[in-house]
């Protein structure tokens, strides 16, 4: 069955009567956005729907504007189907009468039907009934598709059953299988009743019954758990596959982040090791003394000279006094009368040590007890000790005149010795400072090097993030999630194995019990009953298996045909195939459609691939319907190929013509006019596109977007 003609009258942007004539094969309607494509589709939908609300919105504003009052006009859609030699026309419309510029009335929506036979005879009929007859409402699901998401018709579980019921002879097998089951259940019940009457086995029978029901219940539950786990597994696999392309990036990002963290830690350590408290070091580390050696020499010379001069003056003074007072004050003199050392140097302890060891430890000469050197040292020590004794008043003989009232020199000499001792420390300060400065500089250089490295890593990081679709946070997320999913997948697989084993064990347990029950049956119940049951069982099995086989055949055929179309649409590109899986669960038909590649489910195909898959399935269904029902319905698409590239588009249109008796397709492709061929109303590409009919719709110019009364769609046959 094809649509021969469609007339849209005063419906929204279609002012007056706009006629569309269609042929067999592919009919392409070109139109830019806003030109009337969607309204065309909606007009057909309105025709097929029973929704008659808000009809005021449907009236063409231009017509309303231009119509004269009291001159009624019709708003509606008329469609003519060609079925063999018979033409069926259905009209749905309402009449509008304009009273004033703002005022108008509408009638109710009315259906009209006309059937025209090959000999030209016409019959008028109930339009609504006629429509129901030739184009049942359920058909819409499989004939009209708006956009690409509508194409996924198998996504609902009952889609397959609906499909079969609508189009396939296979639907007839369903009721037989059901009936077979019912009869078998009658037989079962009869046998059970009979068996229970046998007192001998009643007890055991009841026990078995109970056990079997119990086990069967547990088995069913386990199978439900198993199904849940299968679903979980699929979701996880889907998730993992979904991020696979990002995983490399995610890993790379993590690696780089770790490296950057390392660099930062190294930098921190280096920065901490740098000590630039130079000013404080002047004090705390005595760095002030770097150039003190010269000063120290000055000081030393001065103090030594002072000490010398003091001792010299003291000796002269003592000698003068000694001449006056005799030898009382005579002190030990040195060779050549040179100025002696201060009497406290060496210290008393040192003197005592040298005397004890009987050796002069300065010049390394023997000083045995009783020898001259020994006596000299001893006298010197005694003189010193004398000076340390507090002077008693009685010992004073007259006024002692001292040359020196104070002795500052002694302390100064000590200080000089102490500073001299530390000279080695002072001399090392220069190198210490130099080393510290060098050390700091080297650490700074290392830090600069690390900074350069870090900049490079950051650059790499930004490149990866820039080239990935996910941002940095998403990638980190992905990485974390992916690890989690892998773990979960492993856990789920273990659980699945466990459940499968459990299910198998339960079946093994169940089986002997069922056998035992049957054995009891056959022992106690009349053979007639058991034989009848056997036959009914066989019948049930036959019906059930036949139905399943037919369903399988249907699905297999669907799959094969769909794959043929898929290859044609995707010529030269995608190398995968569609797999349609059917199974029964909980008395429901479950259908799964997957795109496979290299034997594995391809979870995230791009939109274009998905669309071609759905279209392939649709075309397959359409073809099979043609064969099964010897009847065919037109396919109407609104913009199904927006995600296709030009090559795929071309193949698609090749296929379109072959797949069905009639397809009508609306698209905004090819509407860009070429500069090279100004006479052409469409793009050059369209010249080579295969089709049986092409129509262009566009808004009549001039028009104003804001003023609806200027809107009018033109229909141009190409």
């Amino acid at each position: 069955m094809i649509i021969k003609e469609l007339i849209i009258s005063n419906y929204q942007c279609y002012y007056d009567d706009k006629k569309f004539e269609f042929t067999r094969g592919s009919n392409i309607i070109l139109g830019k956005n806003g030109g009337g494509k969607t309204k065309f589709y909606e007009a057909i939908e309105w025709l097929f729907s029973s929704n008659n609300r808000d009809i005021d919105e449907l009236i063409s504003k231009k017509k309303l504007n231009l119509a004269s009052p009291n001159d009624p006009f019709k708003v509606g859609v008329e469609i003519t189907f060609e079925q063999g030699e018979i033409l069926n026309t259905v009209k749905k419309y309402f009449t509008v009468q304009k009273k004033t510029d703002k005022n108008f009335t509408t009638t109710n929506v009315v259906y009209e039907g006309i059937r025209e036979y090959e000999n030209g005879e016409r019959d008028t009929m109930d339009g609504a009934a006629l429509l129901k007859d030739i184009f049942p409402a359920k058909n819409k699901l499989y004939c009209m598709f708006k956009g690409e998401s509508d194409l996924n018709i198998l996504k609902n579980n009952d889609a397959l059953v609906n499909l079969i019921n609508l189009y396939s002879k296979v639907k007839h097998f369903g009721p037989y299988a059901e009936k077979g089951r019912v009869f078998r259940e009658y037989a079962d019940k009869a046998i059970e009743e009979a068996a229970k009457k046998d007192k001998k086995i009643e007890k055991r029978y009841k026990e078995l019954d109970f056990e079997i029901n119990n086990l069967q219940g547990k088995l069913n539950d386990k199978q439900i758990f198993l199904q849940t786990k299968y679903k979980e597994k699929r979701t996880l696999e889907e998730n993992i596959q979904g991020v696979e392309k990002h995983l490399d990036n995610a890993e790379a990002v993590e690696t780089i982040k770790t490296r950057i963290k390392d660099i930062d830690e190294k930098k921190k350590r280096l920065e901490n090791s740098i000590d630039e408290n130079y000013t404080t070091a002047l004090f705390d580390k005595n760095w002030f003394l770097i150039y003190f050696e010269n000063i120290q020499k000055e000081f030393s010379d001065k103090v030594v000279a002072l000490s010398n001069e003091r001792r010299k003056q003291q000796r002269e003074f003592d000698r003068e006094v000694g001449i006056k007072e005799g030898e009382k004050r005579a002190t030990v003199a040195l060779f050549r009368n040179v100025v002696p050392l201060p009497n406290d140097i060496p210290s008393r302890a040192i003197m005592e040590e040298m005397l004890s060891d009987e050796i002069c430890k300065v010049c390394n000469r023997e000083a045995k007890i009783g020898s001259d050197p020994y006596n000299f040292m001893l006298q010197r020590l005694n003189e010193y000790i004398l000076t340390q004794k507090p002077v008693l008043e009685e010992e004073e003989e007259g006024d002692k005149i001292e040359l020196f009232k104070n002795n500052y020199t002694s302390r100064l000499v000590n200080l000089e010795a102490a500073i001299d001792n530390d000279l080695i420390k002072v001399r090392s300060i220069y190198q210490t400072i130099k080393d510290q400065l060098e050390f700091n500089q080297e650490r700074k250089n290392e830090i600069d090097e690390l900074d350069r490295k870090k900049d490079k890593e950051i650059e790499d990081l930004e490149n990866i993030i820039g080239s990935s679709e996910l941002g940095q946070d998403s990638l980190a997320h992905t990485f974390k999630n992916s690890k989690g999913w892998q773990r979960d997948l492993t856990a789920v697989n273990i659980k699945i194995e466990e459940y499968e084993k459990s299910v198998s064990e339960m079946r093994k347990e169940l089986s002997p019990k069922k056998d035992e029950k049957e054995a009891l049956d056959s022992k106690s119940v009349s053979t007639y009953l058991t034989q009848t049951r056997k036959i009914l069982r066989d019948i049930e099995t036959i019906f059930e298996e036949t139905k399943e086989n037919k369903y399988d055949e249907f699905v297999k055929q669907l799959q094969k045909t769909a794959n043929d179309y898929l290859k044609k649409i995707n010529v030269g590109s995608f190398t995968g195939y569609i797999e349609i899986e059917r199974r029964v669960f909980n008395k429901e038909q479950i259908v799964e459609v997957n795109l496979m590649q290299d034997g594995e489910i391809f979870y995230h195909p791009n939109t274009s691939l998905q669309t071609s898959m759905h279209l392939a399935i649709l075309f397959a269904i359409s073809e099979m319907t043609k064969i099964e029902r010897e009847e065919c319905y037109p396919l109407i698409f609104d913009a199904p190929t927006s995600s296709f590239d030009p090559i795929k588009r071309k193949h698609f249109f090749e296929v379109l013509g072959d797949c069905n008796e009639q397809t009508i397709l609306l698209t905004k492709d090819f509407t860009d006019r070429s500069e090279n061929t100004p006479g052409l109303l469409y793009s050059e590409e369209f010249v080579n596109i295969k089709r049986n009919k092409a129509i262009l719709i566009r808004l009549e110019e001039p028009f104003d977007d804001e003023i609806l009364s200027t809107i009018n769609t033109q229909v141009i046959n190409l």
Partner: protein, 178 residues
């Protein structure tokens, strides 16, 4: 035995009051707060006497002997020399009281006192110590003048960490240490 060092330590040297606002206040930080915080503010010296010691050594090495004018208004510190360098209650600092001896040795070397006359009693201890302090003040003043000039020349010189160290190190040009 008498101890000139002990006597000298009990004094508090003075400096030209002008420098209080221009140098001492901006460059040293009296009062609490951690050593680290002070450093970060560009205040390298914990207190005024530290800065004075720095000026002294700078003047000493650069041979900038600039005695204070009698008429000039003078300022001084809270602590006598004997307390300089005692850091037992400050975190992160070490005691440097030993530098007192070195400063004393320097002023002894550079001051013209007849120490023998001092020992004979013809010069009083106070007189001697006064002269030693004057020497100290002169070198410190010289150092302060140098620092002040440097600050005029480049106002941001002393913000860098090694600034003060470098100034001391540069004085090598006058002193051939190695």
């Amino acid at each position: 035995m008498a101890n000139l060092f002990e006597k000298w330590r009990t004094r508090i040297p003075k400096y030209n009051e002008i420098y209080k606002a221009t140098l001492f206040d901006p460059l040293s930080n009296i009062g609490g707060g951690s050593e680290k915080a002070k450093f970060n503010l560009g205040k390298h010296f914990s207190n005024n006497y530290e800065f004075y010691m720095y000026a002294f050594f700078l003047g000493l090495y650069k041979e900038q002997y600039k005695p204070l004018d009698k008429d000039v208004k003078k300022a001084d510190f809270n602590h006598a020399i004997q307390f300089w360098g005692s850091k037992s209650n400050r975190l992160g600092r070490t005691d440097f009281t030993n530098l007192q001896e070195y400063m004393f040795a320097a002023v002894i070397a550079k001051t013209n006192i007849d120490l023998l006359e001092l020992e004979k009693g013809s010069i009083s201890e106070d007189e001697a110590v006064k002269k030693l302090i004057e020497t100290m003040e002169a070198y410190a003043n010289g150092g302060l003048m140098l620092i002040s000039d440097k600050l005029d020349e480049s106002p941001h010189y002393f913000i860098q960490a090694p600034a003060f160290l470098n100034l001391i190190l540069e004085s090598n040009l006058k002193n051939e240490a190695h």
